[in-house]
């Protein structure tokens, strides 16, 4: 097999460079400063997150990627206010956040729709919680349901919907509150590959159409590159930002870009970061299973 020479992932076309310059000029929506999270366990303290620093600008799409157990879920839960940081600060529009609130919409992997409410009432939940009248909340909810293309299912119960549809309701429900930022915790982790692909395009469309900043957690390289402006690569034990990658793939994105040199170069780089070149013990593990194919010579 001939090896294809890839460009550096750091090379950006003028168009992409311009876009990043422009993004950096926009206001900062979310800022994380020296965030640290230590869990106390019976075996002693475990540092889950260390020295996390980053900013998300308005209408930016930021992905956080890392191997499982690197603390990316802990990070997003702290941002959402569901967990507290051991030290450091989370600033939303320059103001420190404490506890959960409707200014940060969250989409969970497990859908978390309220099974006793119809799609419409699920989307109305946040609005009603904040004291909006039923009629106003209803008409707003219907607009969001329209946006995610589920107008025919407004009166259905969540259990009557497929996984992809449920996640669209969850997005509509989070967006209905008009949050400053949308936090998504591996939202498509439970979906099959085909649905996931469709949902990614949907999300890009929605993001394109409305004024929303997105912070998206994933462990899927292609997903991160396909969606993000910038990717925060987290290292495990402790979870630290290893590199922030500006994705050199131009927008609007398309699935056909999956095989472009920029895409592949970025993918290769992240892959190296997340799965570092094997150390000696990797080979040992492989030796435990010795495969013998028909026709292969069996060692004596």
């Amino acid at each position: 097999m001939t090896k294809i020479e890839l460009p550096s992932y750091l090379e950006q076309s003028d168009e992409v460079k311009q876009r990043f310059d422009e993004i950096k000029q926009r206001e900062v929506i979310l800022e994380v400063k020296d965030l640290q999270k230590i869990f106390s366990t019976p075996k002693g303290d475990v540092t889950a997150l260390k020295n996390i620093n980053f900013k998300a600008h308005r209408r930016e799409f930021v992905c956080v990627i890392g191997a499982s157990g690197c603390g990316k879920s802990t990070l997003i839960r702290i941002l959402a206010g569901l967990e507290s940081a051991s030290s450091g600060q989370v600033l939303l529009d320059g103001k420190p956040v404490s506890g959960p609130g409707p200014d940060r919409g969250m989409v969970f992997q497990g859908y978390t729709l309220f099974p006793w409410l119809t799609v419409k009432k699920n989307v109305m939940f946040g609005l009603r919680s904040q004291g909006m009248s039923y009629a106003t909340a209803e008409s707003e909810a219907l607009q969001w349901i329209d946006l995610v293309g589920l107008e025919k299912f407004a009166d259905a119960y969540p259990d009557q919907l497929s996984g992809g549809m449920k996640q669209r309701v969850a997005i509509a429900r989070a967006l209905a509150n008009k949050p400053r930022i949308l936090l998504m915790d591996e939202p498509y982790g439970a979906l099959d590959a085909q649905t996931r692909c469709k949902m990614q395009s949907y999300l890009l469309q929605i993001w394109h159409n409305i004024d929303i900043t997105v912070l998206f957690i994933t462990h899927d390289l292609d997903e991160a590159i396909y969606l993000a402006d910038r990717i925060l690569v987290l290292k495990s034990h402790p979870g630290e930002v290893e590199e922030v990658i500006e994705v050199p793939v131009p927008r609007p994105r398309d699935v056909e870009q999956f095989i472009t040199p920029e895409f592949l170069a970025t993918r290769k780089r992240i892959d190296e970061l997340i799965h570092p070149p094997s150390t000696e013990d990797d080979d040992d593990k492989l030796n435990m299973i010795r495969l013998t194919r028909v026709g292969d010579e069996v060692e004596p």
Binding site: A80, G105, F108, G110, F114, W116, G126, Y157, R173
Partner: protein, 321 residues
Amino acid sequence: MSSVPWFAPRVALSLKRTRVLTIASFLLPLLIWSAVSYLPFLWHPKVKIVEPGDVSYFKVDMLVDREVFDKETGKMEETGKLLPDGEPANPIYLPAPHEVAKAFVTSFTTEPRRRSEKWLHESLWHSITIIFWGFTLSSLIGVPLGVLCGTYAAVSRLNEPFVEFFRYLPAPAFGALAVAILGIHDGPKIAIIFIGTFFQQVLVISNTTRKLDIALLEAALTLGAKRLQLLFKVVIPGIIPDLYRDLRILLGWAWTYLIVAELIGTSSGITWFITQQARYKNFDNVFAAIMMIGIIGLLSDMILAKIGKHIFPWEKAANKA
């Protein structure tokens, strides 16, 4: 169809098989009972005297043990006197199905022996009201307390250790105390049902509440729901179908305390009817009354299950999907 095995772990049965088995579950015990009652060679440890012969103490329709009958017959044979005659019979405490069926009808239509005594339907109704008040009072306090215990750790810590202790105390043990405090009529009976139900209820419902997926509460928090909204808009609607199922099971437990409760103070209700009839040796009536309790219990549960399907439409949606 026929390829589907009858015994496959956790595989749902076809509608036809479900029906067949439901009927069989009632029919089988009835068949066994009928067999023992109507086949003279099965069991029948007694002999019912048809003709006393020369045995001085035998009387027509008297029930004697088979050995006694055989011994007396032997004696008469030896002395050459007139032999007694009899047919195999079951003890008086096992009436045949048709006798119970008859008693089922006649016990409603028979006037009470004394004027002060109650008709059967009045006794039954009295029992139902005791259950109703005991269970309702228990639920009025037990359900909210259970939900609060399951929602807030502080409430749970304050209540559950004591409730956990109290539920091991047998409700009937409080009978005498209940009579001393509440008098001899319905008060202590309702109290026994209450004690028997309440402590279990708090624990069962707090456990059900704790089973609510915590992610739903987190989702509500990120949507801006606060304190009481979390309780009333998430916890309660989230658990209510399970809570309803719990109450159905607990209502069944309340019935089991009924018999004890009704023996406290002045005996009343269906229990009074049963003990009274047993005293007169009308065991057909006793069986009929016990069955009535079973039928009332089963029917009320079936009605509640039907209602449940209508008031929780999303549950139906989940089953269809």
